[in-house]
């Protein structure tokens, strides 16, 4: 189906869908909270999350295949993260912007471009946690002082090669998550007629 020029812009219906997908994103993230209790789990939580978020992202890209959808999705996540630590939010929003550009440049209908955009977005979530801890350690600790012990341990871990392992795991799981999403789309969502 061809999208007419007049329908290219995001409208109220699209923003409603995006907001609901973001709520589901946080619901799934809350289910992973126990994993975030342990330092190693905190680093790999985004990789685990990607396995579930992939389905949401495939659905979002299929339902709202318009310019700005990926950015709006990532920016909303980033805005909520700003309440924890503003730099984390800023990194996620920057990641969302890059993901949006890549998605548009590579072709919004292609599964490959969706996968690349999703991988960039999830990686920006990991970087949003890691970069402030590495480069702005003091500020991060004061912004998240309730979790100081945990983040102290996380900092010790991400100083080493484990950050690269987590990075690779996030990329792999993002791709796997998109394939799971594609499978679920065919198995359930198309049959249910929600597309």
């Amino acid at each position: 189906m061809e999208i007419k020029n007049g329908q290219e812009k995001l409208v109220a219906k699209d923003f409603i869908t995006i907001a609901i997908v973001v709520v589901l994103h946080f619901v799934l993230f809350t289910l992973l909270t126990p994993l975030g209790m342990i330092p190693v789990g905190s680093i790999f939580i985004y990789a685990a999350g990607a396995l579930m978020w992939g389905s949401l992202f495939v659905l979002l890209c299929s339902k709202v295949n318009k310019k700005g959808a990926v950015f709006a999705y990532g920016a909303l996540i980033g805005l909520i993260q700003i309440m924890n630590f503003w730099i984390t939010g800023a990194i996620i929003i920057a990641g969302a912007l890059i993901a949006e550009i890549l998605w548009n440049v590579m072709g919004r209908k292609k599964f490959t471009s969706m996968t690349v955009a999703f991988t960039v977005l999830v990686t920006s979530l990991l970087l949003g946690m890691a970069i402030p801890l590495i480069f702005l350690y003091e500020q991060s600790m004061s912004a998240l002082s309730a979790y100081a012990e945990l983040y102290q341990a996380v900092y010790e871990l991400i100083k080493g090669p484990l950050l690269f392992v987590a990075f690779a795991a996030t990329v792999v799981c993002s791709i796997a998550g998109m394939f799971i999403g594609k499978k679920l789309m065919k198995k359930h969502f198309e049959k249910a007629g929600i597309l």
Partner: protein, 234 residues
């Protein structure tokens, strides 16, 4: 006096409510003290009660108090008990976002939020997203319990046994209906938004006055001071 305060809290401007959400949520991340956490939940309880939502206040805050108590009991323990304490430590801090979001959605009319945010000249997309986000948060929890109840009838409910022996199947059975249900609700909300003319770029006219009053500023300042002040004391 109390009646005046009650009326002011009920009619509190949605922008002030959003500021309170940010204040409450951010300070939870700054403290390790259970006393401050309980103090914040007490203030949330007051907000609910003054907004004539006593039952919801009791439900929401009793869950928080239970988690704080559990964390206090499990504190400094090792093994599984220690992990439970740690989970409660995290959850009680995340839960305030749900609690205050619930207060926001239960006490604010959608039209009021839209009008007040529009008067701040914020982008329409941002306004719709924020409104739907807070409005949908309590709904998704309710939907999840409905789905879980249906799953239990067919013996595929979310429990430890099923999560251990059939994790993928259990997650799929819970997750897929939740998405499908959410998308159906998204369509319904879109129809409603279209009917209300939310897509139009014209300036909305309002029945209610959405201006920030002195009472709004006073309530927001007092509550923020109580939250932030307690945080800096301990």
């Amino acid at each position: 006096m109390l009646r005046e305060v009650k009326r002011s809290v009920i009619n509190l401007d949605s922008r002030m409510k959003l500021i309170l959400i940010i204040v409450f949520t951010s300070t939870q991340m700054l403290t390790t003290s259970n006393l401050i956490i309980l103090w914040n939940y007490f203030l949330l309880f007051l907000l609910f009660t003054l907004s004539n939502k006593f039952k919801v206040a009791c439900k929401t805050c009793s869950v928080a108090v239970f988690m704080v108590l559990l964390q206090w009991i499990c504190n400094n323990q090792s093994g599984a008990i220690g992990t439970v304490g740690l989970i409660c430590f995290f959850l009680v801090r995340l839960y305030i976002f749900y609690g205050i979001g619930l207060w926001f959605s239960k006490t604010t009319k959608v039209g009021d939020i839209i009008s007040s945010l529009q008067s701040m000249k914020l982008p329409q997309g941002f306004i719709i997203s924020v409104v739907v986000f807070f409005r949908y948060m309590p709904t998704v929890t309710r939907e999840f319990w409905y789905i879980n109840a249906s799953m239990r009838l067919r013996d595929v409910g979310i429990n430890i046994k099923n999560m251990l022996f059939h994790p993928i199947r259990t997650v799929e059975y819970a997750f897929v209906p939740l998405i499908i249900r959410s998308m159906t609700i998204a369509d319904r909300l879109s129809e409603s938004a279209l009917t209300r003319g939310l897509d139009l770029n014209n300036k909305r006219s309002n029945y209610r006055n959405v201006k920030i009053s002195v009472a709004d500023i006073s309530i927001c300042t007092v509550l923020s001071t109580l939250v932030l002040g307690a945080n800096s004391l301990v």
